[in-house]
Symmetry: C2
Subunit: 381 residues, 2 copies
Amino acid sequence: MPVFMPVGTAASVKAVEQGVLETIGVGGHGAEIILANTYHLYLRPGHEVVRRMGGVHRFMSWERPMLTDSGGFQVFSLSGLRKVTPEGVEFRSHLDGSKHFFSPERSMDVQIALGADIAMVFDECVETPASWERTRESMGLTHDWARRSKDHFEAHKHEVPWFEAATQEQRQEQKRDAGVLPLRQAQGQNDKLNDELRGKTQSLFGIVQGGMYADLRKESAERLVEMELPGYAIGGLAVGEPREVTREMIARTLEFLPKDKPRYVMGVGYPDEIEEYAKMGVDMMDCVLPTRAGRHGLVFARDADGGVVRMNIKRREYAEDSGPIDASCGCMVCGRYSRAYLRHLFVAGEPLGLTLNSVHNLHFYLATMSRVRAELAEAGS
Amino acid sequence: MPVFMPVGTAASVKAVEQGVLETIGVGGHGAEIILANTYHLYLRPGHEVVRRMGGVHRFMSWERPMLTDSGGFQVFSLSGLRKVTPEGVEFRSHLDGSKHFFSPERSMDVQIALGADIAMVFDECVETPASWERTRESMGLTHDWARRSKDHFEAHKHEVPWFEAATQEQRQEQKRDAGVLPLRQAQGQNDKLNDELRGKTQSLFGIVQGGMYADLRKESAERLVEMELPGYAIGGLAVGEPREVTREMIARTLEFLPKDKPRYVMGVGYPDEIEEYAKMGVDMMDCVLPTRAGRHGLVFARDADGGVVRMNIKRREYAEDSGPIDASCGCMVCGRYSRAYLRHLFVAGEPLGLTLNSVHNLHFYLATMSRVRAELAEAGS
């Protein structure tokens, strides 16, 4: 910690192969944890399909930790025609217009079926801007839903697809300890699962809401912390508000979240933002920006002073530029390909361009976090 | 030999990174040689750009051998409104409708600027079906153009972008031999180029035409062989004719091509075809099929008898199929990902799906050629 989580919306970090994700970043250590979107996987291929395939780790062949969001944000931002009641949200799929219903219980069922290491409580994301009254009302609903999420999760967490595998494994382990089974036989397909997951269930994180009001953020944080969850997210930020407001809301929320549990800011941000928030004490962040920007030809580099430079790779000035995106970058793309080639791929609409831009940007984010971790360790020692 | 050449139309084998291309195939040896299209690179980014970037190898960071076609086939198949005269072909770009002119001399200039290891003479591709008279007339033009291609190539081959680098290298080598320069200083950027290329020029291959007429194929082969080129291609096949005709034309042409020089059939084919033609004596083949099929969700596998199976990965029957595309396949995709995941990626429109399908299919083609080489070696010993 702190870590940045690449977003694998539909169980794929867009245009980047899992083997590549495992080797980007400083020292080739790869992404520590990635995120998948509950809303997308619920609609396609369907959470029950993912459950029957052994959970999202096995489905996409990603052995490292994963997190799923609650589906709430996507329901509010992507789906058409939605109706919120205290019970939950009725919405229409952005894919085919079909009608669906998400409640805290439903979100938990879906996330347990997906089986990521970390699940999120179901929350309401209030529109922006919203009045204090409207925000407080929405926050109340979020707290109610958090409680219902936790209750349902506790009652059903053993239904996670890898739970049975784990107990079977444990049984084998017991037999092995008793000398019944040779070691080799006990090593099965389950070896593919992250060792740390075996015999465990998921962790459910809370989400603090409260819009752009510090008093509501404080209240929300306090209510969530009372629920004694293993980690807390700060949601409802980076939704169009000025950056100073984002920063202030984060600062005013962090004060009320326990330091010994992961503190996660959802959906941020630009490279300088993730650095800033990490230094403020945020442990986890996720954002589609490195991959989405990459697919639009926007790549990040550092200037001589270490400042962040945004380069639009399709600009004509790069047409015959034989240098890498960033000479100080240690990524595979900067080690092998020129700006001229990347520009050509992008202009020619070659899919490889999307991949290489995304790989570079993800490396840039992970490398930024590596440096921040080193700086924090230095400052702490 | 024999080898299959993946097609990198616009200096990228679509959706497959060069580092991956270097490691697919049996034993992880990668593709031996790839092809790039002269017509596409001429239009975008422009051959002069590629020349100034050091040639197509350096431009795309591919150190292994490459071949460029003459541009003829694409001019005849892709571009709009073309006018053929004995001088050459006037055509309109499929990208922006702009007017261009290709002649044997122009094709050579462009291919020398691109600097692939193997260049092809400029030929006319007759429409299909065409009468004997029309085909013979077109063949005559092709022979005339082959002669002009060779003459222009011989006069300008030293203009290949890596020629100067090579002579400079040679000069350094002489100095080093004379003890003037320490070894380290003599090792420069040129190390990135394939060692075998240094100080050499490109090889120009001829193209046999003659449509679906065996007597014309014989005549064309004989005319080309008289030109004493370092390799010969059989063009104008796999353009819609029945497969028996393709096979017969290949057989009836191979007889008249020297066995001690590479014999290349352009633009074929399905996995069983490349195996068949390789066993008939064809040394080189190229085809967009493995990558294009992959992008359309079509992947190849082998049945229990070693026969080729074409699977449409988007079929519902694969939705919960946890097996690989082909259990007997040694590729990275089959080693890691399930049919269910590949189907999901394809149905969800994830770019990773295009990549993984293409990687598997390319491996399938290269593995097929590895096996054929082993069988031919066995039969020959």
